[in-house]
């Protein structure tokens, strides 16, 4: 690693960003910007509709730019933005939503913070995305694919890396570049190779390129360690249907099943359910929230009735028993308890808070 090179890079950052800061100051002073951003964050955490539209519409130009830079034209914008939205909305151990967003310290603008979090979330190290099976290497097809790259250094890199299977420091020496630059080169090469394979060898795309995994920054902003990954892999093996069936809301369940398991398009689903596409996206977002809650509490769900029985408020308990144990529709519960839908939502929200606290207390 060349330390001077890094320092130069750092200096370049500082100079560039001072310019950006000056440009920004022409519009709003830093204090005004902080005030504006605080209001914005406050609004996001207290208004779900606003929050959803903020990330899906207001941030669209920025997030589109980031997604295009990282994935090219092959990514599902809606899906990736939903992932980011859910990441920021995720609750902490006390059930407090938007925990990740609330860690924003206002030293930069909200725009720059979201940009950083988004890049970090969408980024997957290039080496983790691309593998070449021996059959493709042995058949000579790999060489044919490599020969289509437009720069000699790109072709050389691929030959050294995948045909000769040289280590990165040896490749750096052979290409006369810094060791630290090999990763950057690798990313550019793989990006170009992907586009060649998409166009000329589409049947090999899924073999060579795994579907990118979401980058793992947890709500406490620390990288998830190997043991957590093992745990997650183990959890992933649990039948997803178990979680889906445990979802109390049948509309959410239907939308998640249709979009993710049955591959029905949002447009077709909207028609089937007699609603509009925006509504489907909204239900999808809420459904994913609920599915995540169900997955989060899956170990406790078998004891859910015991936890519910610990709640002292009769109405809260009745609502939770009705929706989680008896699986009644929400309107049936409203009519049985003789309450309006608004009252039902409020009591349910409070009851959910109580039960989350009970579960987390039990976990601790």
């Amino acid at each position: 690693m060349n330390y001077d090179h890094k320092k130069e890079k750092q200096l370049a950052h500082s100079m560039k960003d001072k310019e950006t800061t000056l440009q920004r100051k022409e519009m709003l002073s830093f204090e005004e910007l902080v005030k504006r951003d605080r209001e914005l964050v406050q609004r996001i955490v207290s208004d779900d509709i606003f929050a959803y539209k903020f990330f899906h519409n207001k941030c669209k130009p920025l997030l589109c730019g980031i997604i295009h830079t990282i994935y090219g034209n092959v990514a599902d914008y809606e899906e990736l933005v939903n992932e980011l939205y859910l990441l920021l909305k995720k609750p902490n151990a006390d059930g407090e939503y938007w925990y990740a967003l609330k860690t924003f310290d206002y030293r930069t603008s909200l725009f720059d913070w979201i940009k950083t979090v988004a890049v970090r979330h969408f980024y997957t190290p290039s080496g983790d995305l691309f593998t070449i099976p021996d059959t493709i290497l042995d058949s000579g097809l790999a060489e044919e694919m490599f020969s289509k790259l437009n720069k000699a250094v790109y072709r050389k890199y691929l030959c050294f890396k995948y045909l000769d299977q040289l280590a990165d420091d040896v490749i750096a020496e052979k290409l006369n570049i810094e060791r630290s630059q090999v990763k950057t080169l690798s990313r550019k090469v793989i990006k170009q190779l992907r586009s060649i394979i998409e166009n000329d060898y589409p049947e090999y795309l899924s073999i060579l390129f795994q579907k990118s995994e979401v980058h793992n920054v947890d709500i406490n902003e620390k990288e998830i360690g190997a043991s957590d990954v093992d745990l997650r892999t183990h959890e992933a093996n649990i039948d997803v249907f178990q979680y889906l069936n445990a979802m109390p809301n049948k509309y959410y369940r239907r939308v998640i099943e249709a979009l993710f398991l049955d591959d029905i398009t949002p447009e077709a689903l909207a028609q089937e359910m007699g609603t509009n596409v925006s509504n489907i996206y909204n239900i999808k977002s809420r459904g994913l929230d609920q599915l995540r809650d169900v997955a989060l509490y899956s170990n406790e769900i078998c004891n859910l009735e015991n936890y519910i029985n610990l709640i002292s408020d009769d109405r809260k308990r009745a609502i939770l028993v009705s929706i989680f144990i008896e699986r009644k529709d929400y309107d049936v519960v409203c009519s049985e308890l003789k309450i309006t839908e608004t009252q039902f939502k409020k009591i349910k929200k409070d009851a959910m808070k109580d039960i989350k606290q009970l579960i987390f207390r039990a976990k601790k």
Partner: protein, 78 residues
């Protein structure tokens, strides 16, 4: 990767502390993936029109109110 989002955002915006800069440099030295991530951050910062996007984003909160007016789809969702 032990660099927090706040530290990384501050580093990219040139407002990080000396201690944070050292933390970032250590991470660069020890983690190739982090170096690659910084490269991508640079690429994103070089996107055409990013400054305009930032200015537009930071410009005003007037249009923010419009965002909560899309409430047609929130009716009757259970």
């Amino acid at each position: 990767m032990n660099i927090s989002n706040n530290t990384l955002a501050a580093y990219m915006a040139g407002v990080s502390t000396v201690q944070e800069d050292k933390q970032v440099l250590d991470e660069i030295a020890n983690n190739d993936s982090f170096y690659e991530l910084l490269d991508i951050m640079d690429e994103v910062d070089a996107i055409d029109g990013l400054d305009e996007m930032r200015n537009e984003f930071n410009e005003s909160i007037d249009d923010m109110n419009e965002l909560s007016e899309f409430n047609d789809y929130n009716i009757n969702i259970k």
